[in-house]
Amino acid sequence: MNRVIARKLAANVSRLKVRQEYFCTDAAARVSVFNRGQSSQEHKEKNDFANNIQQYDIAIVGGGMVGMALACSLASMPLTKHLNVAIIDSNPALGSRVRLNKGDPPDARVSTVTPATISLFKDVGAWQYIEQNRHAYFDKMQVWDYTGLGYTRYNARDINKEVLGCVVENKVLHDSLLSCIETTDFQKTFHPSRLTSMTLHPSSSSMGMDSTLLKTPSSSLGHLAKLELSDGKSIFAKLVVGADGGKSRVRELAGFKTTGWNYSQDAIICTVEHSVENQCAWQRFLPAGPIALLPLGNNFSNIVWTMNPKEALNRKLMNEDDFVKDTNAALDYGYGPHPKSSLLEMGDMFSWLRGDVTLSATEGFEVPPKVVKLASERMVFPLSLKHANDYASKRVVLIGDAAHTVHPLAGQGVNMGFGDALALSRVIAEGIAVGIDIGEVTMLKKYEEERKRANIMMMAILDGFQKAYSVDFGPLNLLRAAVFHGANYISPLKRNIISYASGDQRLPLFS
């Protein structure tokens, strides 16, 4: 063992000596390098070498949709495609790909991807794989509430686009990213284990004048972050990316504090079937929470129904027929009347604004298609708002749900995560262009500034909606109705809302 170490260190030292070809007045430097090389033998290096130390540029903890999106984005840019990346995820399916069976009914876990995310996927080359599997573009959306006082319809043609978004199963999204990265020669290594502990070595600002490298355990690896995995392996990386979801271990180990609260609401999700094609996204705000019906294609739709935890449990356990009846009631005549679709009463108020009417403002109110049967099991998830106070510190950065979790009411959660992945990969590329060490905190803070601003804005808006709709109070109901009408008939506002929700990064009101 010692001989191996001695040989390795000797090789390191001789490499250093060879590069100092030119005559340099300070010969003492060379001597100290030699000493340093020999003295680090007595440290943990012995154990480290025995445990098969692996060194990476970036370690992505969490190989889910957002983690893999980061990997794909890095693989697709010329400045970053040479990076050596480790992906740590205990899901064994990552290493050995499980073929998606197209005949299966749709999975209940779906995401609505915004046009911004679609273009990200197209840029990295992963969208082609999604088109080969089940996916459903939709170009219409209708939002109303139980009071029947107002509704809003959105149409992609309002902003001269083809689609408002696309509903895709999470497993399809994930698989397409995996397929995409397999086709590149990006150096990635999957580690099918969990992260148990992490050490982020201190920066060199605490160095004294003497050679302090004797104090750090491994002289050549002392500046890297060290991750210990559940299978006993240790890996070193210049940058650790926490993409491990709402209960992020990386966030915990790095000591990032979070702000947030639990909504006293759970969401039930399931897949349902209709007798006709559903091509519109529907959302109705009920007293206990919104119910959303998202098109999946082939007469299938996905339901995301938010309600208080007791009701959620009841609905999960009740028999299927009752559940279907309840769902139809919630979408149609239950809890309150339909909004009037004629423009006669309310429309006069806005006739002076109607110079430039959007296509969807002329569409009347429609009732969503009836649910015929349940096509999957019902899953229940508790909902909360959580936001990490910092996204980045030296050698560690958070993306996706690890940095922020939101209410699903606007289908933005994973889209914010994809936005994070894109922003981080761009910041890393810019850093590499100017030779910065990618674990450098100033560079990571640039990412944090950019994304925090966007994410906090979105979270504030979503939280505002959630709170506004959880109160049944006469004047507030009228105010919400007025907002519906405003959004429906004031064309510039509607266009801005659609742009913002599509991921165009412009605020709905002030830009």
Binding site: M207, S220, V434, M443
Partner: protein, 317 residues
């Protein structure tokens, strides 16, 4: 845009002594005062953090005649004492060297784009300077040398202050990529004596601390191979620079210790172009750095009224 600026500078440099007119009442005397004699710069009371190169040329201060060796040693002692206290803070990105750390990516962006274009390297490569020999004159703690090494260059960093070199070496050892940097405690003149040659000679924020900028530029030119690159950055001797770089940075924002810079030691872009011309270097591009206090970021711009950087090539003989 940059070429327009350069044409302007070249024109002004070429039309005789009117070059120096905006700031001095007597142009001819000004020429002489600038190049050989600095009436307004006393012996530095608090030496600047960036290592000033102390040269063999005599610095004649008002009323004091010092012999070359005496000047050299007295300056060195003063600087060493001052630097000993803050040398450790080179790599503390919140310390007295913070402005350099914050400005660094912007300077590197300019260097990357000009050098890639000049040496015909692929700008999309992650190591575009592979195969180039670069010297960082006045490297300090290695803030510029390390990113250059990461970009693939074979870097030599020189600084006349021993402590800076020690700090630079220690920090560079942390990353195997930067541990290949050759640091030497020496001056540009001595490197010229050793007949060292480099593809690119970079000296940022140093020339304003030098006793004789013309001689300094000649040394830098001697270190460059024919058709090699020379990059120099400094602060403009303008009213605006006085307000921002001295009063603003030193007295109001406390970014830099007081006395870091002497306004009279600053060079205008025209003067820099002229002395580089005389050293056989043609300035090809020039850009300025501007700071946006709201986004707290530096960016490259055409505004050379405060900080500016110039890229020149050595005339092939």
């Amino acid at each position: 845009m940059a070429s327009k600026l350069l044409n302007h500078c070249h024109l002004r440099a070429l039309c005789s002594t009117h070059v120096f007119s905006p700031r001095f009442p007597h142009p001819t005397r000004a020429t002489l005062t600038l190049l050989h004699f600095r009436p307004f710069s006393d012996a530095p009371s608090s030496p600047p953090p960036e290592k000033p190169q102390s040269y063999n040329n005599t610095r004649n201060d008002i009323g004091m005649e010092k012999s070359p060796t005496q000047t050299l040693s007295s300056l060195k002692e003063l600087e060493l004492v001052k630097f000993a206290s803050i040398a450790e803070t080179w790599w503390d990105s919140e310390g007295p060297f913070k402005p350099l750390h914050v400005m660094n990516p912007t300077r590197l962006a300019f260097i990357r784009s000009t050098l890639c274009r000049h040496f015909r390297k692929d700008p999309n490569s992650s190591r575009p300077f592979e195969g180039l020999k670069i010297v960082d004159v006045g490297c300090g703690g290695g803030i510029l040398s390390e990113p250059l090494a990461r970009m693939g260059a074979a870097v030599t960093g020189v600084d006349a202050v021993e402590k800076n070199i020690k700090i630079a070496r220690l920090h560079a050892e942390l990353d195997p990529v930067t541990s290949t940097i050759e640091y030497c405690c020496t001056t540009a003149e001595r490197l010229v004596e050793e007949e060292r040659k480099f593809d690119a000679v970079i000296s940022l924020e140093v020339i304003e601390h030098v006793a004789d900028p013309a001689e300094f530029c000649k040394s830098l030119a001697a270190l460059t191979i024919p058709d090699g690159a020379t990059v120099i950055s400094t602060i403009n001797r303008s009213m605006r620079a006085y307000a921002t770089a001295i009063i603003g940075a030193e007295y109001i924002l406390h970014w830099l210790p007081k006395g870091t810079h002497q306004w009279s030691s600053f060079l205008t872009p025209e003067e820099l172009v002229l002395i580089l011309e005389r050293a056989n270097i043609t300035v090809k591009e020039m850009a300025g750095f501007v700071y946006n206090p709201f986004t707290r970021r530096w960016s490259l711009s055409d505004d050379i009224s405060v900080n500016f950087i110039s890229f020149g090539t050595k005339n092939a003989q």
